[in-house]
């Protein structure tokens, strides 16, 4: 511990005299406690009512979550923030999903003491909303939690209530989760990067539990991440490269991309892009520089001949919020056979903090996420800053970039949504603009009591008041009549 920094903080802290308590915390706290207990008692009554009446009303046969997917499946044109108490995938499986949503607000990030600080909303192909919960950590769908190409599974490092594994795969059709072992059967320290296009393998990063060295500047422990390919059927693990860098310092938007046939994988290592085959054999390496990156998981063109890149025009170091928001990204291409620059469909430059390409719509349009910075965001530089991180992002928009110019917003989303993942089959088939409906409040998780209880208090207090008033009215004549009994 540095005595100097301690002394500095102490010096700042000593500017603060002991707080003046305007109200006696003991009296106020105990009063709140009595009120809370009364509310809890009343909530039991309210919950009992809901439990009796609710199922027949809200869990009726018309629950669309159980309807089979049809050929009219589509990504909804509009999404909303789910209810804070939205049911989990494990409670009521939504079936195959169209979208994953992550973000802020009570619906997408609760409070650990009461709820889960990390949440991801699964938007089913019928528009239903279900939740995946990740206590204690903010998670980013599309980067930390990945939807399989057919929308049936998600893969993540862990999920609340799921088994412990190197990675955990959750089936959205039945809510079950399966642990995937890592190299040498490890059950720790994996991070998913991308699904193989056929959905039968997952590219992941493996990193050690304990630091292997120390950063020369920050003196923080280093956790070198190694890319590995995990076959879901055989559970075999194939290392692809020695390392792609410290796991906490990676630019997650540009980690890797599979070729459309799944035979080749582009991997970012610092300012270089490596193309390897599924056995990890190197095919070529290209140096992109610090302003140019692999465009994202969907960077390979549909015919597999080009790899899209994004190049930053704008602020790279010491960027305040306005500078981050006014960055511009140009899309370029590398020849997938040689790694050299090549031409490709020209799309308009995109203004935003970051641009991450998810895939190609109908084989022609680039589908991408455009990121805007969180209010107050400030980047010192590319090291230690993540263009698409949860804390850095203030808003995200799913867009399509048409060759020759033109940008289209594909999903109308509220500002609280900070990350998305889209089912690849719907994306490539161009199935956007589907019907949307607001999240249904039921079925719900038990955390709904935290809302129901305060809401029920006024009603139940009124009922209690009425009962007391009637009791007094009934009691009054008897008390009045009592003296006459003893004095006939």
């Amino acid at each position: 511990m540095s005595e100097e920094v301690r002394a500095l903080l102490r010096q700042v802290g000593e500017q603060m005299p002991p707080a003046r308590l305007t109200k006696d915390p003991w009296s106020v706290g105990r009063r709140q406690r009595r009120t809370a207990r009364l509310r809890a008692a009343l909530a039991v009554l309210a919950t009992a009512t809901v439990a009796v009446v609710g199922p027949s009303v809200w869990l009726g046969a018309d629950d669309p979550a159980h309807q089979p997917a049809t050929t009219s499946d589509a990504v909804p044109r509009k999404v909303e923030t789910p209810w804070m108490w939205q049911a989990t995938v494990q409670q009521a499986p939504p079936g195959r999903a169209a979208l994953l949503l992550g973000g802020d607000g009570l619906g997408l990030r609760g409070i650990d003491l009461l709820d889960h600080e990390g949440k991801v909303a699964v938007v089913g192909r019928d528009g239903s909303y279900r939740m995946l919960l990740y206590h204690g950590a903010e998670v980013v769908p599309g980067e930390d939690v990945l939807l399989s190409p057919d929308g049936r599974y998600v893969v993540q490092s862990f999920v609340a209530g799921g088994p412990k594994g190197f990675l955990v795969v959750t089936d959205l059709t039945d809510g079950t989760s399966r642990a995937l072992p890592g190299p040498q059967g490890r059950d720790c320290c994996g991070r998913p990067v991308a699904w193989a296009p056929d959905g039968r393998a997952v590219l992941a990063l493996e990193f050690p539990r304990e630091p292997t060295g120390w950063d020369s500047v920050s003196r923080i422990g280093l956790l070198p991440a190694r890319p590995v390919l995990i076959d879901l059927e055989s559970e075999s693990v194939t290392p692809l490269l020695d390392t792609v860098g410290d796991v906490h310092r990676l630019r997650t938007a540009s980690l890797a991309a599979f070729s459309p046939d799944g035979s080749r994988i582009a991997l970012s290592v610092g300012d270089q892009l490596h193309l390897v085959d599924r056995a990890g054999r190197p095919l070529w390496t290209a140096t992109l520089g610090e302003r140019r990156h692999l465009a994202g998981l969907g960077a390979f063109s549909p015919d597999g001949t080009r790899i899209a890149t994004v190049t930053l025009d704008g602020c790279l170091r010491s960027c305040d919020t306005a500078a981050l928001a006014s960055r511009t990204w140009r899309v370029g291409y590398l020849d997938a056979a040689t790694g050299r620059d090549t031409s490709g469909p020209a799309v308009d430059p995109v203004r935003g903090m970051a641009l991450r390409v998810l895939g190609w719509r109908n084989g022609t349009d680039l589908v991408a996420l455009r990121y805007q910075p969180e209010r107050g965001a400030y980047s010192d530089g590319p090291v230690g800053w993540n263009d698409t991180g949860w804390w850095e992002t203030g808003e995200v928009t799913l867009i399509a970039l048409r060759p020759g110019g033109g940008t289209e917003i594909l999903v109308d989303s509220p500002g609280e949504i900070l990350a998305m993942d889209v089912s690849r089959d719907l994306l490539e088939a161009g199935r956007f603009g589907g019907p949307s409906r607001p999240p249904a409040p039921f079925p719900a998780r038990p955390v709904i009591l935290a809302v129901l209880v305060p809401a029920a208090v006024p009603v139940i207090a009124a009922v209690f008041g009425l009962l007391l008033w009637r009791r007094r009215r009934r009691g009054s004549p008897r008390r009045d009549a009592a003296p006459h009994v003893g004095h006939p």
């Binding site: 540095s2 920094v5 500095l8 903080l9 406690r33 009570l106 120390w214 920050s218 956790l223």
Partner: protein, 172 residues
């Protein structure tokens, strides 16, 4: 000692330290007082359970840091943002005071969780594991937040770079 007596004794003994920690977290006296008031009120609600678990400091710290971070994320307070830290009138220009002001301004531009991590690790002198327990996150999150906070401090207050770098080195 009955619960009320023990609570009042605890408040009397710890209010100065809690106030200083709250000030480092919020950067504002009024908000620090509000945070202390709110925290102690919440603690009073569960005081018997808090003291039954042993050291009340752990629960109180956790309550204070969680409340601060979560309220900030929900835009409970509307902070006026500046591209650069606003000028603050300085009456005393001695080196220590000036340095304290630099630190305070730099702290104000960190995220709430980064501030919380610095306060827990450097002011309250907790281990990474203890800080992770209080913040309800993993040790690696504490490490990454500490790294980010120190890096940010170095940028925001270059005059402190030597101290902050030295802190990182010694910490390692």
């Amino acid at each position: 000692m009955d619960p009320e007596e023990s609570f009042r004794a605890y408040v009397s003994a710890r209010i100065a330290a809690l106030s200083r920690a709250a000030f480092l977290l919020t950067g504002d006296r009024q908000q620090a007082e509000d945070l202390v008031q709110l925290t102690l009120t919440r603690v009073a609600r569960h005081w018997e359970r808090v003291i039954a678990n042993g050291d009340p400091d752990r629960y109180v710290r956790r309550s204070m840091y969680h409340q601060h971070v979560s309220l900030w994320r929900r835009r409970w307070r509307h902070v006026e943002l500046h591209a650069e830290p606003p000028d603050v009138p300085v009456a005393d220009t001695t080196a220590d005071t000036a340095r304290a002001i630099v630190v305070r301004q730099a702290l104000a531009r960190l995220t709430p969780r980064q501030r919380a991590v610095l306060v827990l690790r450097y002011f309250d002198d907790l281990t990474e594991a203890e800080a992770a327990d209080i913040l309800g996150c993993s040790i690696s999150t504490v490490k990454s937040q500490t790294r980010a906070a120190l890096a940010r401090l170095r940028t925001l207050a270059p005059e402190l770079a030597d101290l902050v770098t030295s802190a990182s080195r010694k910490e390692a």
